[in-house]
C-alpha cells in the first residue's frame, strides 16, 4: 500500500472512527467490495482517492488547518508559499528537538561529562 493511500485511509478513520464499510461505501459511492479491498491493502484508484478526500474535506470545517492550507496553495503567490513552506519545515524541525534519540557511537564523540 502506498504512503498516500495509507495516509488517506488513516485520515478517514480519524474523522470517521465508527464508520462501517457499508457507511464508507454509502458516503463515497465506492462499491462495498472495493471498499473492503482498498481498506485491506489493494491498490486504490485515483478516483477512489478523490472520493475519500471529498468526504473528508466536507467533514473538516472552513477554519481547519488543512482547508486553509489548500486555499493558500491555490491562492497565494509563489513567494508567500515558499515562505510558508520554509516556516512550517522550521517549526517541524524545532519541535523534534525535544524528542530523545539514540545515536550510534560515531555520532557521539566526547559524550562523557
Amino acid at each position: 500500500m502506498s504512503t498516500l493511500q495509507n495516509s488517506i485511509i488513516k485520515n478517514y478513520k480519524t474523522y470517521f472512527p465508527n464508520d462501517t464499510l457499508k457507511d464508507i461505501s454509502n458516503k463515497t459511492n465506492i462499491q462495498l467490495t472495493r471498499v473492503f479491498r482498498i481498506f485491506n491493502g489493494s491498490e486504490m484508484k485515483l478516483c477512489e482517492y478523490e472520493k475519500l478526500e471529498i468526504v473528508i474535506d466536507r467533514k473538516i470545517s472552513a477554519n481547519d488547518f488543512c482547508s486553509v492550507a489548500r486555499e493558500c496553495f491555490s491562492s497565494l503567490s509563489q513567494g508567500k508559499l515558499d515562505q510558508l513552506y520554509a516556516e512550517m519545515k522550521q517549526f517541524l524541525k524545532l519541535s523534534e528537538l525535544c524528542t530523545p534519540i539514540t545515536l550510534s557511537e560515531e555520532f557521539l564523540p566526547g559524550r562523557a561529562l
Partner: protein
C-alpha cells in the same frame, strides 16, 4: 537540497566555527540541552556540514559553492530572522529583554539626525569583539526601518 537551517543549528555551527568541540563543550557554549543538541548534530552531520574527528565535532570547511549558496538562501534567512524577532517578541516582558517598534513622522532634518545616530550605532556594534566563546551570553541586536506605506504595500504584494 534545501537545508532549512534553524536558529539552533546556526548557533551550533557558529560555536564550531571558533574551534572544534566535544559534546560537553558545545552544551557549555550554547546552553542547548543534550537531547536538542543530539538532534542538531545528527542533522548537521547528515548534511555533511559537521564532521567528527578525535572525539570532537568540527565544521566541514570543504563545502562546495552550491552548499554555501543554500546556507545563505534568502528565503531561509528571512524565516530565521522572523523566528528570532518572534522569539524576542515572546520574551519582551522578561528581564533583560527589549523590543520596541514605533511609527513616527520625521522632517528631513530629523531623518538626517536619525541616520547619523544609526551610523554611530553600527560603528559601535562593529567595534565590539567576540571576546568570549560562550555564545549563549551574546546579545542579539537588530535595527532597521522603512516607510510605513512601502512596508504595508510589500506585505500585500510580495
Amino acid at each position: 537540497m534545501n537545508f532549512n537551517i534553524t536558529v539552533a543549528e546556526r548557533m551550533v555551527l557558529e560555536s564550531l566555527a571558533k574551534k572544534s568541540k566535544n559534546t560537553f563543550e558545545l552544551v557549555n557554549c550554547t546552553s542547548l540541552d543534550r537531547i536538542a543538541l543530539q538532534h542538531i548534530l545528527s542533522s548537521l552531520i547528515s548534511k555533511n556540514l559537521v564532521l567528527t574527528l578525535d572525539s570532537k565535532y568540527k565544521i566541514n570547511k570543504k563545502l562546495n559553492q552550491a552548499i554555501l549558496d543554500e546556507l545563505h538562501d534568502e528565503v531561509n534567512a528571512q524565516v530565521e530572522f522572523k523566528e528570532i524577532a518572534a522569539a524576542c517578541f515572546r520574551t519582551r516582558l522578561e528581564e533583560g529583554s527589549l523590543l520596541k517598534l514605533k511609527k513616527v513622522f520625521m522632517t528631513k532634518e530629523e531623518e538626517r539626525i536619525f541616520n547619523a545616530l544609526l551610523i554611530n550605532l553600527e560603528l559601535f556594534i562593529d567595534g565590539l569583539t567576540s571576546k568570549q566563546d560562550h555564545l549563549t551570553k551574546q546579545q542579539i541586536v537588530f535595527w532597521g526601518g522603512g516607510k510605513y506605506g512601502e512596508i504595508t504595500h510589500n506585505t500585500i504584494n510580495f
